[in-house]
């Protein structure tokens, strides 16, 4: 299975130009016989939209999204956009498109609203974390901050995901003598989650600068043993192509059967107890 990550530089608020950018990179991926092409978070719009969030929001029936859906022929496609839901709640969403159909939609659950981030001011929070079947196997999607919550990858793994796709817009920051702080942290999370769950992780991070904030790129494919198979350059646009072997998921899980041994009942029971405790109910020793 050949996957590719489009480490692109979207333009802020220009859905028209970003659509062209997507079309161009899809054609490039098609020339390389790519099976699955992943774009970063909010790839159709750019990241720090502020009041532009309302202006660039699209429902899934709009011509731009339909154009991308129609291009997913022979290659599956994942991209990010601002979704205007039927209830007119705006979501930071990612679409999985296959055989010219909108196959799955993930709405970002955990919206960072601290430090330099202000997402919950504009976006509603998604309410589901689910894996879904694809022609390659079971897949799950997370968006950026989602994977910083260990419950999300845990849920996807329990729900059968063999491949986790993480769309991201991570700004490079925390430069020290040891390098780029954010990059180090991201890679340690990705490697750890891939290893613990015996899943592939495809990390698609954008590049480019918005008002001095530079997204670091460094998109990567981490195998189910927690080894980075390939990583893209920092700060530069790149089509990162990797042939992944889903047999590795089987090998990893045979070798380290944490998923088999996971006690879901215990987890649920304890979580329910914790939930009652937080609500101030019952006896919770």
């Amino acid at each position: 299975m050949r996957v590719a990550i489009a480490q692109i530089r979207p333009r802020l608020g220009r859905v028209d130009l970003n659509l062209e950018l997507h079309q161009e990179w899809i054609r490039r991926a098609q020339e390389e016989q790519v099976d699955l092409l992943v774009f970063p978070e909010l790839s159709l719009t750019g990241y720090n939209l502020l009041d532009l969030t309302y202006e660039v929001a699209k429902n899934t029936f709009c011509p731009e999204i339909q154009t991308l859906i129609s291009m997913a022929d022979g290659l599956d496609l994942v991209f990010g956009f601002v979704e205007d839901s039927p209830e007119h709640i705006l979501y930071n969403s990612a679409a999985y498109v296959s055989s010219q159909n909108l196959h799955y939609l993930h709405r970002k659950v955990y919206l960072p609203t601290y430090g330099m981030f202000d997402e919950a001011r504009y976006f509603g929070a998604g309410k589901t974390i689910r894996s879904f079947p694809t022609r390659f196997g079971q897949v799950g999607i997370l968006i950026c901050e989602d994977i910083w919550h260990s419950s999300t990858a845990y849920l996807l793994a329990q729900d059968g995901a063999q491949v986790m796709i993480v769309l991201s817009n991570s700004p490079g920051r925390g430069v020290s003598s040891k390098g780029l702080g954010t990059q180090e942290t991201w890679y340690s999370i990705l490697k750890n989650q891939a290893l613990i769950h015996g899943s592939y992780i495809l990390f698609a991070n954008r590049v480019g600068t918005e008002d001095g904030v530079t997204f670091f790129g460094g998109s990567a494919v981490v195998d189910p043993f927690g080894e980075t198979e390939k990583q893209a350059s920092l700060f530069e646009e790149e089509l990162l192509i990797v042939d992944i072997d889903l047999e590795k998921v089987k090998k990893a899980r045979f070798q380290m059967p944490m998923l088999r041994d996971e006690n879901l009942d215990l987890t649920i029971r304890e979580l329910e107890r914790i939930q009652r405790k937080r609500h101030g109910e019952g006896n919770w020793l």
């Binding site: 530089r9 333009r11 802020l12 608020g13 220009r14 720090n48 502020l50 009041d51 532009l52 490079g172 430069v175 020290s176 003598s177 040891k178 390098g179 780029l180 480019g208 600068t209 918005e210 008002d211 001095g212 530079t214 920092l234 700060f235 530069e236």
Partner: protein, 283 residues
């Protein structure tokens, strides 16, 4: 460089990965300039380390043929400043011009001979700004800033003067980090080792005027701003109450220099309050 190494040994937490920082700054600089529709940049070159580092970063980002350095001495500016600026121009091979600001400054203060050195210094800084913005239009070149993070936090600069620019590559680097990066990028040694000075009057030095060294204040700022340590912990690190007080007062008092003018709210969508867009809107 020995001096820079000695400083960083005393504050290793300020040390940057030089190659990575240079790559980050030059990549972001060229993207921000180019998407704003410019190919060239222009900056004032004082002979000091900050503007020299900005110059070297610009040359790396745009190539020497797209960088214009402007020297703007006043009659009391030190000879060595002008020569140091020339050394950086010669070393990088950028296009340069020199505009003596003495006539316009003297013409203005002729009517106000009692003006303090502070007023004169501010006037010169703003004069230089208007020249850079005029030449920006003339050369179709964006104005690049030269203020470092230490002086931005301390408010040690002239509002709408040397603090004005379109893009500032140094604004998130403490002075000590400016020194490290300047040494890495090959800024002439005499520019790095001489005492920093606004050169607004004779024998002025930053550290003399501020009353503390850049290394000490960078260390304090690191613990105050980056590590958010409460005052008790700053005391445990042997920072004196007087020093902490002096620096925190400066930071708070000079917040006005770090913001756009306050707009009095009347409508439901006030610029900067609830009309919120990045400058890179559509770029």
């Amino acid at each position: 460089m020995k001096m820079v190494e000695e400083l960083l040994e005393k504050a290793p937490f300020l040390r940057l990965d030089e190659e990575l920082t240079t790559k980050l700054l030059t990549t972001a600089l060229s993207e921000e300039v180019e998407k704003a529709g410019f190919k060239r940049v222009i900056l004032g070159l004082s002979g000091g380390i900050d503007s020299a580092l900005s110059l070297y970063l610009c040359v790396k980002a745009f190539g020497k043929e797209n960088v214009i350095a402007v020297r703007m001495p006043y009659k009391t500016s030190s000879r060595s400043s002008l020569e140091d600026a020339q050394a950086a121009i010669d070393d990088t091979g950028v296009k340069s011009l020199t505009i003596d600001i003495t006539p316009q400054i003297d013409a203005y203060f002729e009517r106000m001979p009692e003006a303090t050195p502070l007023r004169r210094g501010n006037k010169m800084a703003r004069e230089r700004m208007t020249i850079l913005y005029d030449l920006s239009a003339h050369f179709d070149a964006l104005v690049i800033g030269t203020s470092n993070r230490t002086e931005i936090l301390l408010g040690y600069g002239t509002q709408y003067g040397d603090t004005a620019s379109a893009i500032n590559p140094l604004g998130d680097l403490y002075k000590t980090q400016v020194r490290q990066l300047a040494a890495y990028l090959g800024v002439p040694e005499q520019i790095i080792t001489k005492p920093p000075s606004a050169d607004l009057w004779e024998d002025q030095t930053d550290e003399g005027e501020l009353g503390f060294s850049y290394l000490d204040v960078d260390r304090l700022l690191y613990y105050m701003i980056d590590q958010r340590l409460p005052i008790e912990q700053l005391r445990e690190l042997n920072f004196s109450d007087a020093f902490i007080e002096k620096v925190s007062t400066r930071i708070i008092r000079n917040q006005y220099k770090r913001t756009m003018p306050v707009i009095l709210k009347v409508s439901n969508r006030t610029v900067g309050v609830d009309f919120r867009y990045l400058r890179d809107w559509g770029l």
